[in-house]
Every structure is written in structure tokens, then in C-alpha cells.
């Protein structure tokens, strides 16, 4: 439970950071940023926000750099959970950053598009989160720092019903929270 509330706190902070950034969706390059805004307002609630200097996307030690410059998410093909070349590249960079910044705990969220049933998509999102986690482990990130969670099709980032949007929703997002050793 303490681990979760720490996680929520940081997610809320990231949400604020993203909201303050005028180019919060996509301008940061590298895979699109801005998960924080959504989750800050979403099911988590935004209570108990603490403020600390997180730095901007140009500061390589900042979470904003991780989210926006490196890219906090990887994408999957329809009904697949295989980590493709583009995803490997992103995850490799994530792993390097995570290894250099050992004070962050990690929750990897798996998501699916809406073209599936609720239960199946929960299982599929779990597979995707686990694929991303396995790759990070293979790059030296300690398993003890990571947990996975599946949101199935419950938290799309894009709501249009076309392949463009579906492709952005089929994702695994690496969410950071301060305090290692979960």
C-alpha cells in the first residue's frame, strides 16, 4: 500500500508537470508524451500533490526527459505483445536511463485498443506490460524495481475509432515513481 501511494503521488506530480508544458502531446518527440496529464485527472484522483524540481525535458536526469525525450511508451501490433524493433530501441534507452537513475520504482502499464472484449483485453494488456518488463530485465533493470498493471481497453489515449488511434492505444507505458526497492 505504501508503495502504491508513493506511486500515485508521483503520477500526480507528473500530471502537473505535463499540464504546465504547452506542447504536452507530442511536441516532445520520441513517441509522444503526456501520459501524466491523463492519469492525474483520471481514476487516480489528484490528492496530496507534492512539489519538487523535476527538471525539464532537456535535463537528462529528469522524469520529463524520460517521458518525452526518451519516450515512456512502446507500441504493439493488433492482438500482439511482441516487442518489435522500434520498441526495443525505446526500451533499450529506457533501461539505460533506469540503470543510471536507480532511485525510481517502475510500474509498467499495459493497454489494448477497443477492438476486443474487456476480459481478453485485460489479459492482453498484461502480456504487453510483461513483454516490456522482460525486455527491461534483459537490459539489466532489477526486477525488484518493477511491477506491471493492465488497463485492458479502459484507458485509451486516443478515442477515434480508426487504426491511427488504435495503434497509439496498443501500448505499454513505463511509469516512474520515486523510491526504489518496491
Amino acid at each position: 500500500m505504501t508503495m502504491i501511494s508513493k506511486g500515485l503521488l508521483l503520477v500526480a506530480v507528473l500530471g502537473l508537470a505535463a499540464c504546465n508544458n504547452p506542447g504536452r502531446f507530442g511536441a516532445g518527440g520520441a513517441g509522444g508524451a503526456g501520459a501524466g496529464g491523463q492519469y492525474g485527472q483520471g481514476g487516480y484522483g489528484a490528492g496530496g500533490i507534492g512539489q519538487s524540481g523535476l527538471g525539464g525535458p532537456n535535463d537528462p536526469t529528469s522524469t520529463a526527459y524520460f517521458q518525452q525525450t526518451l519516450g515512456d511508451r512502446v507500441f504493439f501490433s493488433y492482438d500482439q505483445s511482441t516487442v518489435d524493433d522500434a520498441a526495443r530501441q525505446t526500451l533499450t534507452q529506457q533501461a539505460q536511463w533506469l540503470n543510471q537513475n536507480p532511485n525510481y520504482a517502475i510500474i509498467i502499464e499495459g493497454h489494448a485498443d477497443e477492438k476486443g472484449t474487456r476480459e481478453y483485453n485485460l489479459a492482453l494488456g498484461a502480456r504487453r506490460a510483461s513483454s516490456a518488463q522482460d525486455f527491461l530485465i534483459s537490459q539489466g533493470v532489477a526486477p525488484s524495481r518493477m511491477r506491471t498493471v493492465s488497463y485492458g481497453k479502459e484507458r485509451p489515449v486516443q478515442v477515434c475509432s480508426s487504426e491511427d488511434c488504435y495503434a497509439k492505444n496498443r501500448r505499454a507505458v513505463t511509469v516512474l515513481s520515486q523510491g526504489a526497492g518496491m
Partner: protein, 440 residues
């Protein structure tokens, strides 16, 4: 909430003075045969036996007629067409007047209200054979149960004419949705089968999914993200207390359903990205793994006799429907058509399995025999999913969602013949319906 029904509603006193009647008159609808022409019936306003009963009498008559007409099997003849007026509950029936307007069934009734009780009496008549169909019945209950009494009258009429048990006196637990699709809030809610009497069982602080009734309706299972991770919870419907059922760190639990014993829960547990099917004894806490495969195994549903479990698995490469023994072991694939099959649910009658099918970019609700034969698709849309059976196994309710930002989820129902597709009224967007048993 289901109040303890013995106190809420005392039922079924045979009215005195009735003539002994044949149990089954010639008036009959065979539901399985796909009714083409709905059976015309008349339900003249129930007699208010005192002033306090007037509103109840009008409301009860309206609900009975709506229940019957809502099945698509019956058509109400409007009061404006009636020739005969029913002036008292015991007055002789003018069969020829009803015959003249082609009413085949006539429902008459009376309501009295006094103190904290209302009493509803009714009789059903087979106009063309010129005699009552079954004996008169009387229901008594507190005023707040008036809708249930109306549903019970309609269930009795439906049952006598179709030979099937009814389903009107039942409830549906579901998820009430609000907000845009990318920030949806969800609450567990319960309502009467026809959308009346909505009550919220959780607030929207945590994402909740797929509530399911226990076999006697006294508890519900659901999945919640209250801990930050999906887990299954059990709610006692009497006192609203909630407890987590399985709290293994590093796992996700979802897709729970009760076994017919009301004590065992079957569900999916995910660990390391792999989902398998387990059962849990809710009293002892003992857990048992039923499948052990690197593929996705989820959406389990018990057969009504408790001997088998139907579930979905993508072990063949795409999601298909399998049946295994309730103890696990070898599973037999029963789906064989094109496309993906999900969310199998065993009919309460035991004879069929309803499912979601995804094929060629469309979603369907369908039914098949328990061996996979006689597959029939009942619906088609952008997104239909998650069927639940009416307690009599003749009607399905499911979630339908449209495309894009405006395509909010709503509940629909359809006969297993594919007829009578219609939206179920809810307070705003809704998903994941699960039907209760018929209330006692």
C-alpha cells in the same frame, strides 16, 4: 437491494371460489418457434378497491402491460379499443366483447391499499376457449414493492401462456459510465430488469468492471482497481460490505463468476503476463489452479449443474471457446467458425452457450449448443460484447458501444431467436450487465 423477500412480499394465495381448471389451456406461445405474430392481449386498468389504491392500480397495470409487450411475444390492445368495461374483479367476463376485438388473452386485476400494505389480485383468461387460464393469484407486500408485484403478475401470465418461467421480477447489476472515453469513470449499479429503481453500489473513485450476481442474488463479485491493480472483490448486498478475495502481490485477478454452489468463485489470475483459470473457495480461502498454459485463459463460466466450465483461450492462436471439467484437466474446443470467440456464458437452462464473436471487423452476440453446434449470431454492430442470460434462458442482455468519442456504451437485449433487439433504458452510458436469478 434485495430485501429479504419473505418479509417484503408474501405471495400467491389462491383466490377462493375459483373453479378447478386445466393447467394448460389451448392458449399457448411456443417461444422456440420464432413467433411471427405477437399474441394480442387486453389488460384493462386494474380496479382500485379503495381511494389509496388508485395510483398503484394504474401504475401496476401499466408495468404488467409493458413487461408483456416488451417481450415482443405479446401485443397490447389499447384501452380505447375495448368494448367491455370491467367494473369489478369478480364480475363475469364478457368473452364475446373481447373476442370481437380479437383479444386472445385478458388480464384482470384489483388493487387495495391500506396502512403499509398493498394487495394485488389478478386473473388470466383465455378468450377463445372462454375460460380462465390457471387460478387467480394474490400478492401482498409493502407499497415500495408495487413494481415487483406487477412483475410477478406479468411473470405468471407469461409463464402460463408460454410454458416457460418468467424473468420480469429480476434485477441487473451493471457498470454505470460517465465522462469521455479517455477518462471514463465507472460505478457498479443495480436496477430492475427494465431499468427502474437504479441504485449505485460503489462510487467512481476506482475503476470497476464486470459485476456478477451470486446464484441467490445476495452477493456480487466485481473487479476493481481500488488497490491500484485489478483485483476481484465480493460485496454483500444486504450490508454493502466489500472484501478482497485474493490478494497475491504481483498478480492481477479478474473475470470472476460464481459456481452454482454460491461458495466457489471461478476467475482468471494473471502472473508474469500469463492468465490462467482458478477457483477459490470463498469460505476457506482455498485456491485451485484449473488451467496451466502460456496462452490467455479467461472468461470462465460454470454449467448450471456445476460439473463443467466453459472459457475462452487463445491457445490455438486466436481466442476460441473451450469446455473442461469443473476440476480442470483436458479441455475440448467447441467453437469452430471463423473469427474470434470470447466471453462464453452457460445458459441457466444448461442447453446453450452465449458468446461474443469478432469477425471481419464486426462484433456479434451469438448462441450455440454446448457442443458447439447450431451456432446462431443474433446481433451485429461496431462493438457488441458480454452477453448475460435472463433467468429463464430465453433473452440475452449485453453491452453495445459505438465508434469514436460519441459512441458511448449502452445496454441492449435480444431474444435467443434474434428477435426483439432493443435498448434497455439506463441513467446514462452503461456496460457489463449481469442478470440476477428470478427473485423469490
Amino acid at each position: 437491494m434485495f430485501r429479504p423477500l419473505a418479509t417484503a412480499l408474501t405471495i400467491a394465495l389462491t383466490l377462493t371460489g375459483g373453479v378447478a381448471l386445466a393447467q394448460q389451456g389451448p392458449l399457448r406461445i411456443e417461444i422456440t418457434e420464432g413467433v411471427i405474430e405477437p399474441l394480442p392481449f387486453a389488460a384493462p386498468g386494474f380496479i382500485a378497491e379503495n381511494g389509496a389504491a388508485q395510483q398503484y392500480a394504474a401504475d401496476i397495470t401499466r408495468v404488467i402491460a409493458a413487461d408483456l409487450a416488451g417481450t415482443g411475444l405479446f401485443r397490447e390492445i389499447p384501452a380505447s379499443a375495448h368494448i367491455s368495461r370491467v367494473s369489478s374483479f369478480d364480475a363475469p367476463i364478457a368473452y364475446n366483447d373481447w373476442k370481437a376485438i380479437n383479444a386472445q388473452a385478458l388480464i384482470t386485476g384489483a388493487v387495495s391499499a391500506s396502512g403499509n400494505q398493498i394487495v394485488v389480485k389478478f386473473r388470466l383468461f383465455d378468450i377463445f376457449s372462454g375460460q380462465p387460464l390457471g387460478e387467480g393469484l394474490q400478492f401482498a407486500g409493502t407499497p415500495d414493492t408495487w413494481r415487483r408485484m406487477a412483475h410477478k403478475v406479468a411473470d405468471a401470465a407469461y409463464s402460463r401462456i408460454t410454458g416457460e418461467t418468467g424473468y420480469f421480477d429480476s434485477r441487473v447489476v451493471y457498470v454505470q459510465e460517465s465522462g469521455p472515453k479517455d477518462a471514463r469513470q465507472k460505478r457498479v449499479a443495480v436496477m430492475d430488469y427494465d431499468g427502474a429503481n437504479t441504485q449505485y453500489l460503489t462510487d467512481s473513485s476506482s475503476l470497476v468492471l464486470a459485476p456478477r450476481f451470486s446464484p441467490n442474488g445476495s452477493q456480487i463479485l466485481f473487479t476493481s482497481y481500488a488497490s491500484g491493480f485489478p483485483r476481484i472483490y465480493l460485496m454483500n448486498m444486504q450490508n454493502m460490505q466489500v472484501r478482497a478475495l485474493d490478494e497475491q502481490p504481483g498478480t492481477m485477478t479478474f473475470a470472476p463468476r460464481f459456481a452454482p454452489d454460491g461458495r466457489t468463485v471461478v476467475f482468471s489470475l494473471e502472473q508474469g503476463g500469463n492468465s490462467d483459470i482458478y477457483t477459490l473457495d470463498t469460505q476457506s480461502g482455498q485456491r485451485r489452479q484449473l488451467t496451466n498454459s502460456p496462452s490467455i485463459e479467461t472468461a470462465p463460466s460454470f454449467s448450471p449443474d456445476g460439473s463443467q466450465i466453459v472459457f475462452e483461450s487463445d491457445r490455438s492462436g486466436t481466442s476460441q471457446i473451450y469446455v473442461m471439467s469443473a476440476g480442470g484437466g483436458e479441455a475440448r474446443r467447441i467453437s469452430s467458425g471463423e473469427g474470434r470467440y470470447n466471453t462464453p456464458v452457460w445458459s441457466p437452462r444448461g442447453d446453450m452457450i452465449a458468446f461474443t464473436k469478432q469477425n471481419a471487423g464486426r462484433f456479434h452476440i451469438g448462441v450455440m449448443r454446448t457442443n458447439g453446434s447450431e451456432e446462431r449470431l443474433l446481433t451485429a454492430s461496431f462493438l457488441d460484447e458480454g452477453p448475460t442470460w435472463a433467468p429463464n434462458g430465453r433473452v440475452l442482455m449485453f453491452t453495445r458501444e459505438g465508434a469514436g468519442a460519441s459512441g458511448q456504451a449502452s445496454l441492449y437485449s435480444v431474444d435467443i431467436s434474434g428477435r426483439n433487439l432493443k435498448q434497455v433504458p439506463t441513467n446514462g452510458p452503461a456496460s457489463d450487465p449481469a442478470w440476477s436469478p428470478l427473485l423469490p
